[in-house]
């Protein structure tokens, strides 16, 4: 195994800029790694060998010509298969989009290209990002590199597993209810859901438009910040894009100082339902932060108890509407068009054949919640809970600078364990959902292994709207202190595969 794949993104870029290694060599080392281990991990749905090597060669040519290279130039990246890239398949983990080749790039892809980041391919995910395990991918699940019998989290399990398996040092995810943070937690990697509107969603296949956010994933806090900086910022093509300067996340990731910082522990996000080993590592981290000079207080967010309910009404409602466009008329699969059947029959047959069980479940749930007679009781009430959750966050952030909790109530569970129990699956998102409902930002980073199963545990840090830099400051402090205690990052303990 090439030592190149073990390096972090910042080091790879520095080595390329210094001429110590070529971008083509770096890309090839990662492509070789994918060839060697992805049959076991199944992080990728599509590997673009030719495109990646061509992009890398361009970076090398730029360097030879004496052009200035950006801080991530030549670094390989794994892209979640929900963002459009011209000329490559975008399936969203669904059969209904099998073979669909977008005719345009998402803004995120344009930003990655502008930063000279090398896109290796598209990663596996729960179908249309609905799930917490990647088991709802129509192309088979991704396996957790820490234990191949366990889930890598979801929906962005492919992106997180690619990082943990050293198939890529950078990845892009999307987070609607925790799909970046929960996979990061269960794979011992870092992931950030930026403030809603901080990263353009043009070219992102929408799940729930009032919740979806694209974000960066990596193995270190600094790499995550560098990728955040590369993709964030105003985009006139996205009407929800925030027209404000991006917080200085890279400087914050280099600072890592929590002395005098006020940190709030959310009462509602611990205790019952949280695995003992998760609680234990979390409590140790709290003590560690106190030792580093942070002031810890317990914060009450009573409405958070209703967050899961509100989320599983709002999300299905929005997705039932967003997914109406997959009707077999303009793109994707079409079933039953025998020039005799009506358009409604063909649409119904196409959608029944093209969508998997979880997508159908949520479409029907949303159709019900939005239907006349039930709208006020379900969708209307959920929107009110959303207001209450924002009020809880606002009150908490008047007292503290950041909030913390475990990212997920458990470590990675076994493949197949919860796949037929939707409510048990939904509970994985209990700690990550409030941030999506309120639109502020959150990070997950590794804080150790749970003693009972040896699987990674994640710490979630939450900050106010457009204060994403605070996540990186606190994350960097935790990462540095744990690294000095252990002598290495947690990910170095992952099995060799």
């Amino acid at each position: 195994m090439s030592e190149l794949i073990k390096l972090d993104a910042a080091t790879i870029a520095a080595n390329i800029a210094a001429g110590d290694v070529s971008a083509v060599e770096v890309a090839q080392a990662h492509l070789d790694r994918i060839t060697a281990v992805d049959a076991k991990v199944h992080a990728f749905l599509h590997v673009d060998t030719e495109g990646a090597l061509a992009q890398a060669a361009k970076v090398d040519a730029k360097r030879s010509a004496g052009e200035k290279l950006g801080p991530l130039a030549g670094v390989p990246l794994a892209l979640k298969d929900i963002l459009a890239i011209k000329g490559l398949p975008t399936t969203c983990g669904s059969k209904i989009l099998e073979g669909w080749i977008p005719a345009y790039n998402s803004t995120v892809v344009n930003r990655l290209h502008a930063a000279d980041i090398v896109i290796l391919g598209k990663t596996n995910m729960d179908e249309f990002a609905m799930g917490s395990s990647t088991e709802y991918s129509a192309y088979g699940p991704t396996h957790n590199p820490w234990d191949l019998d366990r889930i890598p989290g979801g929906s962005g399990g492919g992106s997180a597993a690619a990082l943990a398996a050293y198939e890529a040092p950078l990845a892009i995810g999307t987070d609607t209810g925790g799909s970046i943070r929960q996979p990061a937690a269960v794979t011992g990697t870092v992931g950030v859901k930026p403030t809603y509107g901080a990263v353009s969603r043009f070219g992102l296949v929408a799940l729930a438009s009032s919740l979806d956010q694209v974000g960066p994933c990596a193995r270190t806090v600094l790499d995550t910040a560098l990728l955040h900086e590369a993709i964030a910022g105003y985009d006139p093509a996205d009407s929800t894009s925030i027209n404000q300067p991006v917080p200085n996340v890279v400087a914050a990731a280099k600072r890592g100082d929590v002395k005098g910082l006020k940190i709030g522990l959310i009462k509602q996000l611990s205790g019952e339902g949280y695995q003992a080993g998760v609680e234990q590592r979390f409590q140790e981290t709290v003590e560690m932060l106190e030792g580093l000079g942070a002031e810890i207080t317990v914060v009450d967010c009573p409405s958070f108890e209703y967050a899961l309910g509100a989320y599983y009404l709002i999300l299905p409602s929005e997705c039932s509407s967003n997914l109406a466009k997959f009707d077999g008329m303009r793109f994707g699969m079409r079933v039953g068009d025998d020039s005799n059947r009506s358009v409604e029959e063909v649409m119904s047959m196409t959608r029944a054949a093209g969508f998997g069980p979880e997508v159908k479940r949520r479409i029907m749930l949303g159709t019900y919640a939005l239907s006349s007679g039930y709208y006020d009781a379900y969708y209307g009430s959920a929107q009110k809970v959303r207001t209450l959750i924002s009020q809880d966050f606002n009150a908490a952030f008047e007292k503290v600078d950041v909030l913390i909790s475990p990212t997920a109530p458990t470590t990675a569970f076994k493949l197949g364990e919860k796949v037929d129990d939707p409510l048990a699956m939904y509970l994985n998102d209990v700690a990550t959902i409030p941030v999506n409902l309120a639109g502020n930002c959150g990070m997950s980073l590794p804080i150790g292994l749970a003693p009972e199963d040896g699987m990674p545990v994640g710490l979630q840090i939450m900050a106010p709207v457009m204060a994403d830099d605070r996540l990186y400051n606190v994350g960097a402090a935790v990462e540095a202190e744990l690294k000095s205690r252990w002598g290495h990052l947690l990910i170095a303990e992952a099995p060799a595969l």
């Binding site: 929800t240 008329m329 303009r330 793109f331 068009d337 009506s342 969508f355 009781a377 502020n440």
Partner: protein
Amino acid sequence: MSAITRAEVAHLAKLARLDLSEAELDHYATQLDVILGAVARVSEVATPDVAATSHPIAMTNVFREDVRHQTLTAEAALSAAPAVEDSRFRVPRILDES
């Protein structure tokens, strides 16, 4: 809030354009009932004095300049269509002509 019936599930499937099998209808009738039972708790705190939030970060009237710009060509837009005829999307029968 009432329990969801199998007939309601069949109606929802029709509205959602999902041609579900009999087995799927039975399965979803049970599951949707369990899920709705769990999420219905939101009504406990959703009192009339609480305003609804539809969008986490309030923005109003997001406009762009009214200028011409490059869009997809007809050829590109049709490139992924399941059926094309005369530079248009070909669709199944829309009006009942039989």
